[in-house]
Symmetry: C2
Subunit: 644 residues, 2 copies
């Protein structure tokens, strides 16, 4: 029923986000820790994204106390020393996305305290300067600085949207948080969660895993096997049709891990589904991912046997996530790697992902849009890729649009009137060359109305020949600026041919063969245990043996800056070259804010620049050298001697 009403929680003009005191000292482990205070960080990041992508202002307040601040116990105040200016405790949470945020420091003088972000700050003035009338407020803690900031905001006549999923309470008294929440609602705050504020990808349940993970989890639970395990995700061998792969999907893995929880419904289902003891299911209530993640940055080129992502976590956690991690990473790696081949093949061309319909389900469609953009595509036709990931979306008309009109000229004209800035006409519904002449005629009328023909699209026939003929017709008709787009079962091989034939095509819509990675629709990707409780592990299965231990990849470059060779080594080895795996998460928390997709895309472009010529070819190249260090080999030998 909510979908039928109007939504007034979408950020728009006159709105701003206020993040209150999301500082280390208020997080678990800090001097004045708010229980589960770190849960606000991923939630706040989603709000930040919603505001930043709409170019709306973000403000972040912080306690910024002198060492002798009056609120500290030693000065007679109620609190332990916290958030002392310039100390680590006063820093914002490491994973908090504060890109472009305005920082408001408060309680900076020894003698005066301030719970509210407005108290003795210029926040009100700054908000007025940019015309803010409504504030979206979240942060720490519900019952102190959030509450007081909200009180002031309301007093100062701001409307307030209270971000219910991005606040946590100190709860010195158990119901302090609840009371504060009630007071804020009574003051007229509108409560909201991120689902009401922004569009988000559908989130699969925690139960989206293989049943054996749950079976093992129960067995681990029964035996108390909870020590630290190290698992690595890697690809055994590259497909014959790939000279390299491109890392993608790491961000979705991190999002998955930071939000992984079993809902009450899921736990109820487990209880009734047989075999899961009450105490085991109850133990899942507090299940969270509290481990470490190291991964290669998205867009990085990698090869067989090289870990792309490493999980170091209590065994049950590291186990449960296997299925979904592979499920996320394989798809995005496959799509990015396929797209990268097209990017290399067609430099300077517009490349668009048209793959949603033939992608394998909804999530595959979204992943393809994201991964191909990462690899260098210009954009996608898949609409939610823009609100979800900030990717430019493109699209004009289908054959059915022309056919519904019956009269092709009328169809083109109508479309131009509805979309004067997006006039790309589809030519091949009936007769491509005739349609090209139609466009030339129509363009004269449209020009009088101030509308120019931006482009045409070909979707069938001999694209090289047709594009040349159409180019001639357009040029002769004075439409030299009109671009030619082509689509229809294209891939890197047909792109190569079209470019070799000097087809005058400016942009390509790439669908099926990208979306399903037609010539390599799966990868030999695995996620394998390498160490448990400090002991390295090795699987010896025929043809599927693993290299044991916690590893790192070191990469060296030649004089031209091209990648030269990689060394797979133990993590504690110190080899020349750049270590590819970087720390991303510690104890379940991000070490830095989510990398913006544009930044990863720039990294990917640089990685493609660093490819040696042979690997850039569509033809199968001699394998890139990945050396296994002697220390790993020795360890494998030693483990093979152990009794089982």
């Amino acid at each position: 029923m909510t979908t039928a009403g109007t939504n007034d929680c979408t950020p728009g003009p006159n709105d701003a986000l206020l993040i209150v005191d999301a500082q280390n000292d208020f997080l678990p482990g800090g001097r004045l820790a708010v229980p589960q205070g770190d849960d606000v960080v991923p939630a706040l990041n989603r709000y930040s994204t919603a505001f930043r992508t709409r170019h709306l202002p973000i403000f972040a307040s912080r306690d910024w106390h002198p060492a002798n601040h009056c609120s500290f116990m030693e000065q007679g105040g109620p609190w332990p020393p916290h958030c002392v200016a310039e100390t680590n405790g006063a820093q914002f949470a490491s994973g908090l996305d504060l890109n472009e945020a305005v920082i408001i420091s408060k309680a900076t003088e020894p003698k005066s305290d301030a719970y509210s972000a407005f108290e003795n700050t210029d926040l009100d003035q700054r908000l007025q300067q940019v015309g803010v009338k409504r504030l979206f407020i979240g942060g720490l803690a519900t019952d102190y600085c959030v509450l007081n900031s909200v009180r002031d905001a309301i007093r100062l006549k701001y409307s307030v949207v209270l971000l219910e999923d991005a606040i946590r309470a100190v709860n010195l008294q158990p119901d302090d948080g609840a009371k504060a929440l009630q007071e804020m609602l009574d003051l007229g705050c509108q409560p909201a969660t991120v689902e009401a504020v922004s569009l988000n990808p559908p989130k699969p349940p925690a139960l989206l895993t293989d049943l054996y993970q749950l079976a093992m989890l129960k067995a681990y639970h029964d035996r108390g096997m909870n020590q630290t395990a190290v698992f690595e995700f890697y690809i055994r061998n590259l497909p014959a049709q790939r000279n390299f792969l491109m890392a993608a999907g790491v961000e979705q893995v991190l999002e998955y891990l930071e939000s992984l929880q079993f809902t009450p419904q899921e736990r109820d289902w487990l209880k009734t589904s047989g075999g899961y003891s009450e105490d085991f299911v109850d133990s899942l209530k507090d299940f969270r991912f509290t481990g470490d993640v190291d991964a290669v940055p998205e867009g990085t080129i990698f090869f067989g046997n090289e870990p792309v992502l490493r999980i170091t976590a209590p065994l049950p956690q590291a186990q449960l996530i296997e299925s979904r991690i592979i499920n996320i990473l394989q798809m995005q790696i496959m799509a990015a790697s396929k797209a990268a081949r097209m990017v290399l093949t067609a430099p300077g061309k517009i490349l668009l992902d048209f793959g949603l319909r033939r992608a394998h389900g909804a999530e595959a469609g979204l992943f393809v849009a994201r991964a191909s953009y990462l690899a260098g595509f210009t954009g996608t036709a898949t609409v939610p890729a823009e609100p979800f990931y900030g990717i430019p979306v493109f699209g004009t008309m289908a054959h059915s649009y022309i056919q519904a009109h019956g009269d092709e000229t009328a169809a083109f004209r109508d479309f131009a009137h509805s979309w004067p800035d997006n006039t790309i006409f589809l030519l091949d519904t009936y007769d491509t060359l005739q349609a090209a002449h139609t466009v030339v005629m129509l363009a004269r009328d449209l020009k009088k109305e101030g509308i120019s023909v931006h482009g045409i699209r070909l979707d069938s026939g001999d694209l090289a020949q047709l594009s040349k003929q159409v180019r001639s017709i357009l040029d002769a008709g004075g439409l030299k600026e009109t671009k030619i787009f082509a689509s229809g079962n294209l891939d890197e091989y047909s792109l190569t041919q079209l470019i070799a034939q000097q087809a005058p095509i400016d942009g390509f819509g790439i669908g099926t063969r990208l979306a399903v990675s037609e010539d390599a629709p799966s990868l030999e990707c695995v996620y394998k245990i390498q160490e448990y409780d400090g002991q390295p592990r090795r699987k010896r299965s025929q043809g599927k043996a693993t290299w044991p231990g916690k590893k790192q990849v070191f990469r060296t470059f030649d004089a031209q800056g091209k990648i030269q060779e990689d060394h797979l080594a133990m993590e504690d080895e110190s080899l020349p070259g750049e270590p590819l795996l970087k720390p991303c998460m510690r104890q379940g928390k991000r070490l830095s804010p989510p990398a913006p997709l544009e930044q990863s895309r720039t990294h990917a472009a640089r990685q493609l620049d660093q490819l040696p010529e042979a690997l850039r070819s569509l033809e199968s190249a001699p394998p890139y050298p990945v050396h296994i260090s002697q220390k790993i080999r020795d360890l494998a030998d030693r483990l093979d001697q152990q009794p089982i």
Copy 2:
């Protein structure tokens, strides 16, 4: 935060579902229509599924009046005549799933009326007989029969969960529904929606489509092009590796269509994303699918050019849904068709879907589980397939489980203690044959504890040879009942080989090659306009021309009951044979309840039985004859003569 609490809305022992008066006369078009009353039908069906799959009782009340009932105006009552016993108006909504429900008729006597399902009925007695203490109540109408049933239920000391998304109000006064809702909450009802009551597949947004659909929608809106269009989904040509295809995913298309709405957030996004006028976006507020659907039943065998699903709807509706319909159907058809080949290859074997991790994203994993089960698989490892679709799930242990233990024997023993009824041991972590001997030794100890070894699994090496050797070891060790399972890059080709080699394998776990349909990871599936505003349409694009008009497929059988030939004809032609497309939805409403998956699975098995020998082969067979009727050919010729 809701996920941290306990959920008390999951149906369990002592719970029952009560569906109030979901009858035709209370639906739009009925004698006493409740506005949007038909919206409760899909919602109630989801609750029905949750209760039925848990074997919990379902009750459905109905007004069942004599023709001279006192509530009718002509008898001095307040209402027009409605729900007269045995008339169509008194029937339950056509799409309502009432399988196994107990029907409670009320107000069956001329002189007495009854709003409450308890009034002068034996409902209370029947609930007590089966020990019900809590009622989940939804239906029509909020402000009359639902309200009065709830009042009585509370009075009779039942706990009540009020199904907020499955009730609608008459609202003679505009706030009648709101008042009734408030009264029920004040009485102590717990409000709930389907998300709190059952596990449901994640639902992609309405915006999950190609941008050109939205661009065309605006152009249609600007021109008022809203006449009826006919689109057909079909596959141009079968892949070389497929002699037939199996229909699957129709149910997901129907669910998509019946729940298709733009949320306020989506409309807000459109407003800010450029080019979409305010009045166009506002028009999307009431966007619903109100068209007709005809489709072949899931599990039906079909061939190239044959429509699997036909949409007849106002042009903008029929247009918008193109991308998602193809996205749903291609994946499930691909997976069902691939799985069917394995089912044909390995009769009598246990076949399990292990494909989640290598499927292309979350939804692909779920679709593969569903489609392979439809085609005859025994079950899946993908956990949510059970709560979402009622599919049996299977799973035991991974190599990492053995490796974490270090000691293989200890690993097996621990697992047997945790899962005494699910003892399937994975043998190939280190040395398969040695592990088989370990199992034999361990089985003696386990036997003393009353635990028998159900099976072992092989995941690498020469499966034919290893399975024979392991079978010998197990048999010699007295474990003749212990089953052998195998997995590892299997498909219909390797199954054929293993069976030809008489490998003593009882069951197979099939992963990657099923999940991505490795040898045919996409289909030439399209969704094409065939008629607009009563006029047939034909696309003439080179190599992509369509057969015009609204069509039907007629299938004939030979004397042995095998399928013989199909005729693609105009819908109004009358040809011998069985018409394959059946009516599913009219004016956006289902004509019958969702087909249970088991029923579709039975249909699929019968379809496979009807395949001629040649088509059952893994080798490429001569194409099955699909004839195009002369009437279609004449129409195509006529359309090709028309000016464009």
